[in-house]
Symmetry: C2
Subunit: 165 residues, 2 copies
DNA sequence: ATTACTGCAAAGCATTTGCAAATGC
DNA sequence: GCATTTGCAAATGCTTTGCAGTAAT
């Protein structure tokens, strides 16, 4: 195997995330009697490489050719594992296909999605989490996680609509 | 056409919802140069008849035979229209297939979904909506709607797990 | 050596769509 | 009468799966 494959040239910041996240995934895999494989490292690296929000299928396409080839099936399987490991989060809301984002080094936040242009805008408000936690308590519900998505029109799009239409 | 088909025997409360919701759908259809058809009335009636939360496919199956037959394609098409009309709301979060609920006579609320048994628990907290509205304002985002889903373990299931497991 | 993982391609499955017949306007 | 809608069945497209070969432990 070539050296390029073993360690890609990545922007420092991304490399740092990968370097921190990968050992966590390794721990998770070992705890679950699963194996630490090439393919899993490549998928994790790709997830942390260029994606704020991405869908499984696009990721699979990106890895379908070139040096770091990983098959579609394996990408889906690995994303599921990463989700279990808490390294990735699904946002299966807007479209037919699942959208993900990585959660490592990425503080808790929610999303607004523009109906027009499809852009994802991140926002956070810790009071939201608190309110949800207290609602859960009221209903004797043990929260594992929650998801908040706001649908509407982003600033850019409604400015365009007001201005020119 | 038989009289039974023209007006089903429904519990009073449900009939009341249908009687209120149907004219709204009719208005919506007329405004959009769409036609007021048998199939659309049957789907709307079915939606208001037995479902708190339901998935499109189940609804389609229920209407696939019997007197009030409506084809699968039409059910999907009609649900999309009802969503546009604001009579139905999607909760496309938990599963591969879309879950819906009707919104008419059903005050704004959110959902907790049990990982174990899949139960939907409704809850509401108007402060959540207020926080989201103000976050939207901060980001110059025009909110159309939002969705909050909490995942975890319901009271029944974690009591079982604690008690017997 | 043993067992898990990967790649591939085929299967699954919810949803969408094309088209001829039916229906609302 | 004309345009939309419906039903049917076939197509679509994301995701999952079976299996034989490959890699990790």
């Amino acid at each position: 195997m070539s050296k390029a494959q073993e360690r890609q040239e990545l922007p420092e910041e991304i490399q740092a995330s990968v370097d921190e996240a990968w050992p966590l995934f390794v721990d998770f895999l070992k705890e679950n009697q699963a194996r630490v494989t090439q393919a899993r490292r490549i998928v994790l690296t790709q997830v942390f490489s260029r994606h704020d929000h991405f869908c499984a299928d696009d990721l699979a396409s990106e890895l379908s050719s070139g040096l770091n080839h990983v098959s579609r099936g394996t990408v889906y399987r690995t994303l599921a594992l990463m989700e279990e490991a808490g390294l990735v989060r699904v946002i299966r809301d807007t479209d037919v296909h699942a959208h993900y984002e990585h959660t490592f080094n990425h503080p808790s936040h929610e999303h607004m999605i523009c109906d027009q242009c499809g852009e994802f805008i991140e926002f956070s408000d810790e009071n939201l989490a608190l309110l949800i936690a207290s609602a859960s308590r009221r209903h004797d519900f043990q929260e594992r996680t929650h998801r908040i998505v706001v649908f509407g029109t982003c600033e850019k799009c409604h400015r365009q609509a007001d201005g020119t239409a």
